[in-house]
């Protein structure tokens, strides 16, 4: 096979935007939000919105890797709680200095990775059912969080939350973090292991027969989910400046909603991280819209529930074409 390649009709990979539908949904909700809340289009409001959406965005990114590989992770919320209380407690006990903060951040990230690794070992190596197993580990993680800190409290040094609320010149740190997360996600999606993840989720046996390290990739996806949940927890510490062992559970199912809303199939193999980021932002916008539509307070949850259900159903039907 040494002869010159025939001139192919197309010589570059096609631009396949897997998140187009998620973007349309996002744009619609953004427009509605801007119409109901004209101040949305100011830098200040955009930034504060991004800040409050950031934790969910991060968890959704992590969850996407697990779902793409054909699994699911119900521990994301519990990891957030565990990392949250661990970091705050550790920084307090280490004296609250700059070094203590650095130690706390590093420990939080390591803890998230460790939790993800445990999930990955149970699900991919020991081949346990992902839903029940990660639910069980989430109970354990939540229990350890309560052990470390039985009730909300504690506080982090000013340097932590001041730093989190600060920025580089006019650009807020949270915006930078968001852009870094987005950039990392895009970078990851161009990497070899990410391709393999899609292959494993799309056709596990075919991927195995093609020589891919199926078990290792599934473990890696859980580790990434743990890592991103830990990052979300660090952001929440910056936002609330304190610890809460009961913070987090709602993130688990919401992150799955964000992933599905972003066009990733729960069966695995199809979708992508950018869609999930858009899905997470859309969920945040839905909250805003319901609030700014000046609906009677009692109807807000129903309207929100209906919008989310419709968006989920519409996304699934739209992705199927």
């Amino acid at each position: 096979m040494t002869e010159a390649a025939a001139p192919a009709p197309e010589s570059r990979p096609p631009l396949r935007i897997r998140w187009a539908l998620a973007f349309v949904v996002f744009a619609v909700f953004f427009a509605v939000n801007a119409w109901l809340q004209p101040s949305l289009l100011t830098t200040r409001v955009l930034t504060s919105n991004l800040t409050s959406f950031l934790p969910l965005v991060l968890v959704a990114i992590g969850q996407t890797y697990v779902v793409l590989a054909g699994d699911i992770d119900l521990t994301a919320g519990a990891i957030i709680a565990l990392v949250n209380v661990s970091v705050v407690t550790l920084i307090e006990q280490a004296g609250g200095s700059g070094g203590a903060i650095a130690l706390g951040l590093a420990a939080g990230i390591a803890l998230g990775i460790l939790c993800g690794l445990l999930n990955g070992l149970l699900v991919a190596v020991l081949r346990l059912q992902a839903i029940v197993t990660t639910f069980a580990t989430s109970i354990v993680f939540g229990g350890i969080a309560l052990w470390i800190l039985p009730q909300a409290g504690g506080s982090v040094p000013q340097a932590y939350w001041r730093g989190y609320a600060g920025g580089l010149g006019p650009v807020k740190l949270t915006v930078i973090l968001f852009l870094v997360a987005l950039g990392t996600a895009i970078l990851f999606s161009r990497m070899r292991w990410y391709r393999h993840l899609l292959a494993i989720g799309g056709n596990r046996l075919g991927a195995f027969q093609s020589g891919l390290a199926v078990t290792r990739q599934r473990v890696i996806s859980y580790v990434l989910c743990g890592l991103f949940a830990a990052l979300a927890a660090l952001c929440l510490v910056g936002e609330t400046a304190s610890a809460d062992p009961l913070l987090g559970p709602s993130f688990t199912l919401t992150s799955i909603s964000a992933v599905v809303l972003g066009g990733t199939a729960l069966a695995g193999g199809r979708g992508g991280v950018i869609g999930s980021i858009l899905g997470a932002l859309t969920l945040g916008l839905i909250n805003n819209i319901v609030f700014f539509a000046k609906l009677p307070y009692v109807t807000q949850d129903l309207v929100k529930g209906l919008i989310i259900l419709a968006a989920l159903a519409g996304g699934i039907l739209g992705a199927r074409r």
Binding site: M1, E10, P13, R190, R192, A199, N203, A207, Q209
Partner: protein, 497 residues
């Protein structure tokens, strides 16, 4: 030194023995044909060589390295590439990404999308325009047709520059032009010193491209013959063993019954304008190569797959809306793919027998004792033995499982039985029992459509045989014309000598 030596390989899946002392030797720069009837163990042997299935016993040497491969990754690293019959493509990656899967070009863990795409385009270009519309490097595999997927899987192998290639039914969906291009590629690989195992049911292809042919039967290697000194008849004889000696049934149906099933112009994704008539008490065989429309006809008539055309059942139009409607109209369907289409392994034997009867009778309540009375005679007739009706079906052998499925349909009292390769993978004794009951049922007036992948079964059982090719009826053989040779010739597309 031989490139691949596999000796005395044994492999059992549960209670079924897939390989029982199979051997194969492939030289570098050799195209080695592998042929045998369905279920003879060809694919399993190849999967063991490629590390995706483990062996129970035997010995393997590849390229000077002793021992079996523990994973497909290890075999691939050693230089073995496999065209999997069921394909190993990922539906939501595009063609170029599939071709590069596992060895993507790029640096530091990154993927070079442009390089992947160029490589994909270069390999696909070998097939020129014969791949048809839509076969581009950027097309998603889920959007491809069957032949395009096979081309993609072929390109996936070429991209790995292997020392040994196993093509398992790589041409089954390809058209004439595509097969010629494939042959050119195979010859180039041979020139380059690559060893090639070529599995095909098409005799003409084997003789056109192979240097040697190994014939397998019942999990064993029968013989390896150099193509230069052998002919098709010799290979056929080895494949079917003593079958050619057995006479087909010579008697016509005891009495020419009334037409029961009249099929006219049946067409769908697989079928092209199929028409025939089945009479009361007749056993009509459906033969030909694997997957030429035999199953599709049965499934279409049963309402399991959509189809156009007309089917009349006992003179009345038969709408084919759903299997449930077909069951109420008096049809029954037995599939050889028990695992997918037939059995409820974890459910009791009794429920496995009762499910269709319940659907047909529409009774709200299941009365086990009454049903046991109903099936006791059928069970005795089928020579079916088990420890108790409450045992899970899983506890039975494949042959007895299939008898339970037959009992399920006999319990509904069907007028027409659609048998879709019902003896696939079951033992000889159970086969004999099944064919005895088929004969008895026909004698009682039940009309039977029998698809079998084993020609000797068609010859010994059917009154008449329709030979299928590419979704059409190629030949209608009965009486004097229904000879073993005629059947094999029609099936393997061997031109009359």
């Amino acid at each position: 030194m031989s490139l691949l030596v596999a000796e005395n390989i044994r492999k059992a899946f549960g209670s079924t023995l897939a390989l029982d002392g199979a051997s194969l030797t492939v030289e570098p720069g050799e195209v080695h044909g592998l042929i045998g009837s369905n279920g003879c163990g060809k694919s399993t042997l190849c999967k063991i060589a490629a590390g995706s299935v483990g062996a129970d016993e035997g010995h393997l040497r590849f390229d000077g390295r002793e021992g079996f491969f523990g994973t497909p990754a290890a075999a691939a690293a050693a230089g073995i590439a496999v065209f999997y019959q069921e394909l190993s493509l990922i539906p939501d990656l595009d063609v170029a990404e599939n071709i590069a899967l596992g060895h993507e070009p790029g640096r530091r863990g990154m993927v070079d999308g442009g390089a992947i795409h160029r490589e994909g385009a270069r390999l696909l270009a070998r097939f020129g325009s014969s791949g048809g519309k839509g076969l581009t490097p950027g097309a998603l595999v889920r959007d491809l047709s069957a032949d395009q997927r096979q081309i993609a899987e072929i390109c996936k192998i070429l991209a790995r520059a292997p020392k040994l290639v196993i093509f398992d039914e790589a041409t089954s969906s390809l058209d004439g032009d595509q097969v010629q291009i494939f042959f050119e590629i195979v010859r180039e690989l041979r020139e380059a010193g690559t060893g090639i195992i070529f599995i095909s049911h098409r005799m003409d292809e084997l003789f056109a491209i192979c240097d040697r042919i190994t014939v397998m039967r019942d999990g064993r290697t029968e013989a390896t013959l150099p193509v230069a000194t052998t002919d098709r008849e010799a290979v056929l004889t080895l494949m079917v063993g003593s079958a050619l000696a057995t006479r087909h049934r010579d008697e016509a149906p005891p009495r020419p019954g009334a037409p029961v099933l009249e099929v006219a112009g049946l067409s769908n994704a697989v079928l092209r304008d199929v028409s025939f008539t089945l009479h009361e008490g007749e056993i009509l065989g459906l033969g030909g190569l694997h997957g030429q429309g035999q199953s599709a006809v049965l499934r279409a008539i049963f309402g399991a797959d959509p189809s156009s055309g007309s089917v009349r059942l006992g003179g009345m139009p038969h709408a084919r809306r759903s299997p449930a409607a077909a069951i109420r109209a008096g049809l029954g369907y037995v599939s050889g793919d028990r695992g997918i289409n037939g059995v409820f392994l974890d459910r009791p034997i009794l429920e496995n027998m009762a499910i269709a009867h319940l659907s047909k009778s529409r009774a709200a309540v299941f009365r086990p004792r009454a049903f046991v009375e109903r099936v006791a005679g059928i069970v005795a007739r089928l020579n079916l033995r088990f420890a108790g009706y409450d045992f899970p079906l899983r506890t039975l052998s494949g042959g007895n499982q299939q008898k339970v499925v037959i009992a399920r349909w006999l319990a509904t009292g069907p007028r027409v039985l659609l048998l879709d390769d019902p003896t696939k993978g079951i033992d000889v004794e159970a086969k004999a029992d099944l064919y005895a009951i088929i004969d008895e049922l026909a004698a009682e007036g039940v009309a039977i459509l029998l698809h079998s992948s084993e020609d000797e079964e068609l010859l010994s059982t059917a009154h008449r045989v329709l030979v299928f090719g590419s979704g059409r009826i190629r030949a209608d053989l009965a009486g004097e014309a229904l000879t073993p040779t005629a059947l094999y010739r029609a099936a393997y597309e061997v031109s009359a000598a």
